[in-house]
Symmetry: C2
Subunit: 320 residues, 2 copies
């Protein structure tokens, strides 16, 4: 079992790699090799199997050919130009998120080896005039280019799967919170920074009100779901293997109260409340009443309470 993580240097890629290293198996078979591909050299992980790091530009088919070969059994396609970044740089977003995804799928088709492809989409595919709640049967109506590019990625994944070129499964990720490390260029970055910074004694700004709802998932649960996602039987996925990954909807106020319940009253005092005009139009397009019924039926899960998310951050990212 040879596993490839494209975007292996990113937050989820690294946590997924460590989790696979801890398990040693995937889809009931021992992992023989893990390849971490990214635009920059990814940090390697300690594992009971070979771990290789490779640099790759997925917008270049020749570069994609250097990371996927006949022996690649499972591919995680996590690499993306995220929301605010894709909104600023229209060309780059399409180049990586659309052309890159197509190049990966085309490489699999050319090889004819029908690998499992786990694709991460985003709840940014939802938005606009479509009535809430958003179920797996709602129209995708993204209001930012990133969401459009992810919706196109889902369509491609579904078609390449239907045609038998890959064993695809796509999961629309909730906002991942609490993300450790530095902020990325997602408009949802504040959803982590308002917890991450205050829990470490630093100030952070919240650009929305306390009653703003959010559909979230911890990094730990996200990785668990990505592993379960790879292990699903194709037949159980039906004719549309892209779906929303489970998450939970809480308001910002409830989440801050959860932080206070776990870590005391001091962190919440470090939050400032100022609008950020540069992301306001993105936030306006967000819709958060999301029902991930199909993935839940398939056994994927959400966190129980945002208190868990705070504890998971402290355990996985601060204590470590």
């Amino acid at each position: 079992m040879k596993v490839l993580i494209i975007g292996g240097g990113g937050l989820i890629g690294q946590k997924l790699a460590k989790s696979l290293a801890g398990r040693g198996t995937l889809r009931g078979q021992p992992i023989s090799e893990l390849v971490l591909a990214d635009v920059i050299d990814a940090t390697t992980v300690d594992a009971p199997f070979a771990v290789t790091t490779k640099t790759c530009d997925i917008s270049d088919p020749a570069s994609v050919a250097t990371i996927i070969d006949e022996s690649t059994d499972v591919i995680y396609l996590l690499a993306a130009v995220v929301s605010a970044h894709a909104e600023e740089d229209f060309d780059f977003g399409y180049k990586i998120n659309v052309d890159g995804t197509r190049n990966v799928l085309e490489r699999c088709r050319t090889l004819g080896t029908k690998p499992v492809v786990v694709f991460t989409s985003s709840i940014a595919v939802f938005g606009g005039e479509v009535p809430q709640p958003f179920t797996d049967d709602s129209a995708l109506n993204p209001q930012i280019s990133y969401g459009v590019q992810k919706a196109i990625g889902e369509m491609l994944l579904n078609d390449y799967t239907r045609k038998g070129f890959v064993q695809g499964r796509g999961f629309r990720l909730p906002t991942i919170s609490v993300r450790p490390g530095k902020p990325n260029r997602a408009a949802s970055g504040f959803m982590s920074s308002i917890f991450r910074e205050p829990l470490q004694g630093l100030p952070a700004n919240c650009p929305v009100d306390r009653d703003f709802p959010h559909f979230y998932l911890s990094p730990r649960k996200c990785v668990e779901n990505l592993i379960k996602g790879a292990e699903l039987d194709q037949a159980d996925l039906g004719p549309r293997p892209s779906m929303t990954m489970p998450g939970r909807v809480w308001t910002i106020g409830q989440m801050i109260d959860a932080m206070t319940a776990v870590a005391g009253p001091e962190p919440a005092k470090l939050i400032t409340w100022n609008p950020q005009p540069e992301i306001e139009h993105i936030l306006d397009g967000w819709r958060m009443d999301i029902r991930p019924e199909k993935a839940a039926k398939l056994g994927l899960t959400a966190d129980d309470s945002f208190e868990d998310n705070i504890r998971i951050f402290l355990e996985d990212d601060i204590d470590a």
Copy 2:
């Protein structure tokens, strides 16, 4: 007002050109020039304004640049590799339907002139496990590559419109019936041939039962809707300018009865009833309980009865 029809040599392109020639105006302004672009040299039309024919391969950006310039005000993007053809030739379908659409939109973006772009999508975007009826808020869940490619085209059109690069409006065409002339490579071809051939004394085969429902529109109504579609104010289209064009759902049996009502009992006797395995999997994925509410609110219309469709065929295509 300079108008370009990409796919100007096709059935709808030619009828649209003739209708524009008859009107002389579009969006309240006199038409000064009409360009008919197609892969092969399109037949020209008599008009009170200049009509130019141009050959173009929309999968080649340089070729697209030869048909769209700063003076192009309205672009009809009708060219497509249709259902059964795109299903047979995977690469060619993506090349024309996805890359071609993107090339047209990119050319507009580069020019910065924000033309009106009328894009024809298809009801092939609907299908699979999504519950009927299909409204404008239903998930697009195509079960053939052609539908996937059209859904991607809609996504691109919506995004380029939102970004202000074009004034886009997309319409999912019902099955056009009765189509004159030779069959194209659409799996829905029988929906015209079972009327067109018998009305001219020729046999034709129907691969589905009498109770098979179909969402249809006459070529004449389709052209009327495409003209209204170009004339809509962008503000009335909302944040998702792709929608289903009005049509009507009748069963094959009802439609044949309508032919008999208009043309007597002889034509129906020329229909044979044999399954066609090569299109059976495409027909299985079709869903026909479709509600084109948004376009209807915007003033686009369907035929009143299939008897009209028979009469329109006889008037527009046989008597002429």
